[in-house]
Symmetry: D2
Amino acid sequence: MSVGLPTARTELRVIYGDTDQMGVVYYANYLRYFEAGRNELIRSRGLRYRDFEERFALRLPVAEAGVTYRQPARYDDLVVVETSLTELRRASARFGYRLTREGHVLATGFTRHACVDLTGSLRRLPQELIDRLQGDGAAAGQGG
Amino acid sequence: MSVGLPTARTELRVIYGDTDQMGVVYYANYLRYFEAGRNELIRSRGLRYRDFEERFALRLPVAEAGVTYRQPARYDDLVVVETSLTELRRASARFGYRLTREGHVLATGFTRHACVDLTGSLRRLPQELIDRLQGDGAAAGQGG
Amino acid sequence: MSVGLPTARTELRVIYGDTDQMGVVYYANYLRYFEAGRNELIRSRGLRYRDFEERFALRLPVAEAGVTYRQPARYDDLVVVETSLTELRRASARFGYRLTREGHVLATGFTRHACVDLTGSLRRLPQELIDRLQGDGAAAGQGG
Amino acid sequence: MSVGLPTARTELRVIYGDTDQMGVVYYANYLRYFEAGRNELIRSRGLRYRDFEERFALRLPVAEAGVTYRQPARYDDLVVVETSLTELRRASARFGYRLTREGHVLATGFTRHACVDLTGSLRRLPQELIDRLQGDGAAAGQGG
């Protein structure tokens, strides 16, 4: 991923409720795992998405998402979600995801988010968010 | 169910995403089906739950829920949800549910709801809601 | 979409359980709606996906999926899912989706499916499936 | 809970996908949290539910479930699930659950499970499972 942009790693245990009758994780649930990874990346930069909404009165709804499924995740797997900020623009951000189990890639994907205010109008990303997301690791301990 | 209290019937098609690797509908999803039935019952009385929240600034969060699982629902089943209002108190309501497939009972259950305002304090159920829920079927065509 | 390839239309009512605290349908749930549309398209061709698995001992797991979110779907919306078969290859198929509410596009997307046997090995799509999917509408009444 | 019967504790981070537009965790998702707690309890006894299914060719489908909702869980909450085996019979088991956030009880509940073979017929719980579940903590390190 891009130099200088942050990454985070989180682990999830697959439950029965995540699987479908094919015996593997249902394809929509990978987007849930992506969200958990994204939350963790933002938290690792000393911010919480919850705070982001409250402090800036801004939201980051998903404008686009994509998943490539390589190997199925299964019940009771300990899945690792690696999340990277891959692009930061004036009013949008893009995250990349890689799901692995014991080093084997299960899926990759991305989400692109627009920055909007509470009325839904596009807004610039706040500078504090950009600083935190682009800053060095030292930022990580300061918040949340 | 109680005399004079309304019932409604709605049909749902089970998707892959509702099942788990046991090849049957995941146990939590029955509560989603109950919700669909409850929405339909309220709509059948000429009201929508959406309107209820907006018009009265009240909510009906679930205080208690129970499910008895009899026969598993499976992928592609057309499940019938029969919903009844079974109890109406000053500040709470209780609904009963019966899920069937081709006449065979799959599950039964209930939810009990408190009536609260937007701060979470208990409030009386509004008279209009009581009238609509207890009224005869003629009410059904007037709204929603 | 491509000439000669089938399309189907199905309607879904958004429940509370589909929404998130942003007040809109959670982004992963669009993939559930896509699945409902896909099932309906296959059923409309006189086949059920359930039969497909049983009769041919083949499966069509999702290899890739993408969604573009345009307008949020909300609680109680009646969402129309239009599904098209957009590509049919030797061992894969691609479906396109369009979600609308009262004629307004909420989201578009696609899924690409590999055809695999029960061991997970790639297999040709069975000719009967191809015939049904490419045949004229007359096929629709013969099965399911 | 009963003397001598095991308990386990697991932590879950609430994601956006767990919430609904009331701004709280959707009521069905508590049953997902219960499942995560149940898995952890079984794992803590040196067994995995996955193994249980494979080794004994038995399953423990839910026959009954109940939840009492006390305080809402919210996005980003770190929820603690305490799970106890509360009853062990010849062909069924019952688990109790308590969800807390920073020591405050959010919800309590139970699930009752039947022990069935792969045809769905009731079967005695295998002695090894009973021994592990009733044994002292020393059993915990021997498996899984």
